[in-house]
Symmetry: C2
Subunit: 162 residues, 2 copies
DNA sequence: AACGGGTGATTGCAAACGCAACTATGAGGC
DNA sequence: GCCTCATAGTTGCGTTTGCAATCACCCGTT
């Protein structure tokens, strides 16, 4: 597990482990910044954004809980309760599903759309300042390409930007 | 801006936002995998590893709570309680600080060292399978380089690998 | 139509989290 | 010495998490 083999010679797995560590730490740090910025602006946490964005990109702004849960990045296990909280704030609504009465739809409301937009301005600003401005466009392209490869094997998940 | 008419033209910020989205999603997915693997092996969560590794790399395997908290990636706000749990399992010990009686040291125990090693074999295996094997060494180098630049502006933090 | 196994979603609960007090100690001015 | 302010670490508390039931319903079989 030694990091460096006492020389400039790093083994392949050392290099890759180092890359993983950066990935891990950098995203945690960045996330921390974004959450703090949202909180400063008196906006809800990023998990809400995540859910709102997924709904906004779904056909008709609606999705079955199940599908929603499959796409959510943050708070995977608690989509039901996340939705509860957001419903209480009027950002989404639940509709029972006619073709399968076990099911429920989550539907984006106008308030939800509006909030997502407000959150995005803050979110975007922070990401840009802490990340976008620190890298070149070529680096960004390459980063996205490499990570896409990794992600592809991890799951058929997409999550577009904003 | 990228007014180049070469096929798809995404603006610079689109590209960068996309890179951020990948960073975010991929690390979340990877983390999920690692946590699951640790749990399967009946080992504690990654946050414990994080703390153990930091201590192991500190001089004398000891660190003031304050310094520890500053280096921890996961569970930043709860280092006291994380340490409580780990102390209860005998992985670390607390020692009062003589030169500043408000202070306390966290000291790594032999059991802590041993556990970290066991965790690393699982952790390493999962990272390798889900990440290392999916990318080339050049990609890893470039990824680490780019993210290091970003991280550098985020804080003087280092966190070496494993 | 009744059964049994499977699936969608919710709920109950213990653990962990984020943050704001709080305690105890140090450090500087007077 | 005494007063005040800053710092190290802990604790209290309301919220959120992870996971294992649980409830409600669908569907294929008999």
């Amino acid at each position: 597990m030694g990091a460096a083999k006492s020389g400039k010679n790093s083994s392949e797995s050392d290099v890759k482990n180092r890359a993983w560590a950066r990935l891990f730490v950098t995203s945690a740090l960045l996330l921390e910044r974004v959450e703090a910025a949202l909180k400063d602006a008196k906006l809800p946490p990023l998990a809400w954004y995540d859910l709102l964005w997924i709904l906004e990109n779904a056909e008709g702004g609606r999705l079955r809980m199940h599908d929603l849960a499959a796409r959510v990045v943050l708070s995977r296990y608690n989509v039901t309760r996340l939705a509860d909280r957001m419903e209480k704030e009027g950002l989404i609504a639940r509709e029972r599903c006619e073709e399968d009465r076990r099911g429920a739809y989550c539907v984006l409301t106008a308030a939800g759309r509006a909030l997502r937009k407000r959150m995005w301005t803050v979110y975007k600003g922070r990401i840009n300042a802490c990340f976008g401005e620190r890298i070149t466009i070529e680096e960004a392209r390459m980063l996205a390409g490499t990570l896409e490869k990794v992600q592809h094997h991890l799951r058929g998940r997409t999550l577009e930007q904003p």
